[in-house]
């Protein structure tokens, strides 16, 4: 058995090495993803174009506006003179946010009444809008706290000190709430899944298409020798991917790695087994490389979106949450982020590792069974 397997592996690696596009396909997406997620992917919003309509024209209103300007979050692009102008700014995309300070703003403040502030946001990009709104409410509550404090010091009897709840954020594990730290470990999972699944599927489908599969199948080779020969190389390539992205993340982006490398190794092995299983399964549904490409494309996208890579699973509708249960990426992302940032071990991660092991087992079994049938 070992004889035939090593012959298969040897052949596979010669073919990989000789494929001029292979190195390109392996390395370039890796760097693109690293750069994109390391630099461009960010939830932070800066320099939001803002229009202001100040109908109060008081010291208080000017002070509030200067609070907005003081942060780099908002750029005031227009000091409007009436409501129409504000509307035009938003409609013509000159501004994303408009702040309207009504006449009587300072009077309300002085007399201790709630001073309403009107904020209009362009909801076209709901994400930016929401984040901008978050900053706005932060800045206004800071403003009102300061106002209240000043009122006390001036001993203005009408104003009672604010007794609301103040939130003090105290992020653990990623103190700077650095998105890069969140994304880079995620890239390891998504990229590896993409490459391993597609490489495995293509390698098998190509042999089927070219006819060499038939030539091999009339030989006394056993199906599992062939299957191992077709999956082990991509399993190893997957490990190479993981190692490379990890090194890049640690050395270049300075993502911390506080966990146990062994947990990562174990998790990665299980994840990669599930991935080669998926690739093999996919190959049984495709006669040609084009079909494999299309399937790959349509299947892997949902796997990425429903993995928690960017969008929180807890916020998904229930039936999609159910789907994420069979997504190996979902578990692997938890493991890998935890190992990088939290430093927790098997005692905490065992449910994820168990799920990965179960998925790997099921995927491999189903794909091998289907594959053997497809040889008929």
């Amino acid at each position: 058995m070992f004889g035939r397997l090593s012959v298969m592996l040897f052949k596979e690696f010669i073919q990989l090495r000789r494929d001029r596009w292979m190195m390109f396909r392996l390395i370039v997406p890796l760097f693109i993803q690293m750069v994109v997620f390391g630099y461009a992917a960010t939830f932070t919003v800066h320099h939001v174009a803002t229009a202001v309509l100040d109908l109060d024209q008081s010291q208080a209103s000017r002070s509030l506006i200067s609070h907005f300007v003081a942060t780099s979050r908002f750029d005031i692009v227009d000091m409007a003179r009436n409501q129409r102008q504000i509307t035009r700014d938003i409609v013509h995309d000159r501004a994303v946010v408009a702040i309207v300070i009504h006449a009587g703003f300072s009077q309300d403040l002085e007399s201790g009444r709630a001073a309403p502030l009107q904020v209009i946001v362009d909801g076209t990009n709901s994400n930016t809008a929401l984040i901008a709104l978050g900053y706005l409410s932060q800045i206004t509550s800071q403003f009102s706290a300061e106002w209240a404090a000043r009122a006390i010091s001036l001993n203005v009897s009408a104003v009672r000190p604010e007794t609301g709840i103040r939130l003090e954020p105290l992020p653990w594990f990623n103190e700077g709430l650095n998105e890069r730290w969140f994304f880079i470990p995620g890239v390891i999972g998504t990229l590896t899944l993409l490459q391993v699944v597609s490489l495995t599927a293509f390698a098998v489908v190509r042999e089927r298409e070219v006819g060499t599969l038939e030539q091999i199948m009339v030989s006394p080779i056993r199906p599992f020798e062939f299957i191992l020969g077709k999956t082990v190389p991509f399993f190893l390539i997957g490990f190479g991917d993981i190692a490379l992205v990890t090194a890049f993340g640690l050395l270049w982006f300075r993502v911390p790695f506080v966990g146990d490398p062994l947990v990562m190794l174990g998790g990665s092995s299980l994840f990669l087994m599930a991935a080669v299983g998926m690739g093999l399964l996919l190959s049984t549904f495709s006669r040609t490389q084009q079909q494999a490409f299309a399937l790959n494309f349509f299947l892997l996208n949902p796997f990425f979106i429903l993995s928690g890579f960017a969008f929180p699973i807890a916020a998904m509708p229930r039936f999609l949450q159910w789907f994420t249960m069979i997504n190996p990426l979902r578990y692997f992302l938890v493991v890998i982020r935890a190992v990088f940032l939290k430093g927790v071990g098997v005692d905490v991660l065992w449910p994820q590792l168990l799920a990965l092991a179960a998925l790997a087992g099921v995927m491999l079994t189903v794909s091998v069974l289907r594959f053997r049938k497809s040889l008929e």
Partner: protein, 318 residues
């Protein structure tokens, strides 16, 4: 198990259905050892399907077959150890070199190390690829590719060899060389089953099996088929237009068969057929110019055409 005695290939009522469509229909076949058997038949006749069942690549729908003494259904592994196969589609690795391909197939068949160097040398010289061992296979021309594929298929010295249209798309000179190799192998008692579209190649075979629409319609040596199968004498007739002549002749008593062969007609005439001059007159009455019919030796193609059309009539009336 038995590797000695008995036929090299035996098929009994071998049948393959794809859904409702019957590709191979109760095929019986017996091939003795050391024979070169030609599988002849039009496109879609079921040649490849039969070969694929004999190799264990396809499961028969019904019937049974044994190859080299091993049952195809029950002992597929043993069958695979004892056969070589060249599929209709060229199927070596184009991105591997000549040597790497040989290594790969030698390894898959577990050719013993001490035998391998010798056999690789033999395969390379057989393919005429000395000095090109390190050429990538996709850079080779058709004839070399086919001979290399044959070399790969016999690395493990199988007693039975299945070659599915090994010479299609190969230029005539390379085809002739390929057949020389086949005969060299047959001289070493390898049983070889070759499918082909080329009628002239059938003449190189010890036995020819004519297959049409999934059934074996005739089997015998080329001369047997030529001599006994034609019910009448074969004549060649130059005339024009061909189509009109064909219509005019069919139905005339004594005209057993008429078919277009290139730019002329081949006509099989029974004893009671009109004389040559009468045929010529008959045609000219239809406005067809014709020479006198000339008696010729039938080729396998003539036999084949007659058998196939007879089969078709039989099926229509049945």
């Amino acid at each position: 198990m038995s590797a000695s005695g008995g036929p090299a290939v035996l098929a009994e009522a071998l049948t393959k259905k794809f859904g409702d469509f019957t590709a191979v229909d109760h095929l019986d076949l017996r091939i003795e050892r050391g024979q070169v058997i030609g599988f002849l038949g039009p496109n879609g006749a079921g040649k490849s399907t039969t070969i694929r069942m004999l190799c264990g690549l396809l499961l028969p729908t019904s019937g049974r077959a044994s190859v080299a003494g091993f049952d195809v259904g029950r002992e597929p592994e043993a069958v695979r150890e004892h056969i070589g196969y060249m599929s209709q589609k060229f199927s070596l690795y184009g991105d591997l070199t000549v040597r790497e391909n040989l290594r790969f197939f030698g390894g898959i068949y577990r050719v013993r190390r001490e035998d391998f160097a010798e056999r690789m040398r033999f395969a390379i010289s057989m393919a005429g690829l000395e000095g090109r061992q390190n050429a990538l296979v996709h850079t080779l021309a058709g004839g070399w590719k086919q001979r290399l594929a044959l070399g790969c298929a016999i690395l493990h010295r199988p007693p039975v060899l299945f070659l599915d249209e090994p010479t299609s798309g190969v230029e005539p000179e390379a085809r002739r060389q390929f057949w020389d190799l086949i005969h060299d192998l047959a001289a070493e008692h390898v049983t070889i089953l070759v499918s082909t579209h080329y009628m002239d190649e059938a003449e190189y075979c010890n036995q020819v099996a004519l297959i049409d629409r999934g059934t074996l319609i005739a089997m015998g040596t080329p001369s047997e088929l030529r001599g006994h199968r034609l019910s009448g004498q074969l004549y060649e007739l130059r005339c024009s237009p061909l189509g009109g002549a064909l219509k005019a002749l069919r139905g005339v008593t004594g005209v057993v068969e008429a078919a277009i062969f290139g730019d002329r007609l081949h006509v099989v005439l029974a004893e009671n057929a009109p004389a040559g001059a009468d045929i010529r007159r008959l045609l000219s009455e239809h406005g067809i110019q014709a020479d006198l019919p000339r008696r010729i030796m039938p080729s396998l193609e003539d036999v084949f055409v007659q058998l196939v059309s007879r089969g078709a009539e039989h099926r229509v009336t049945a």
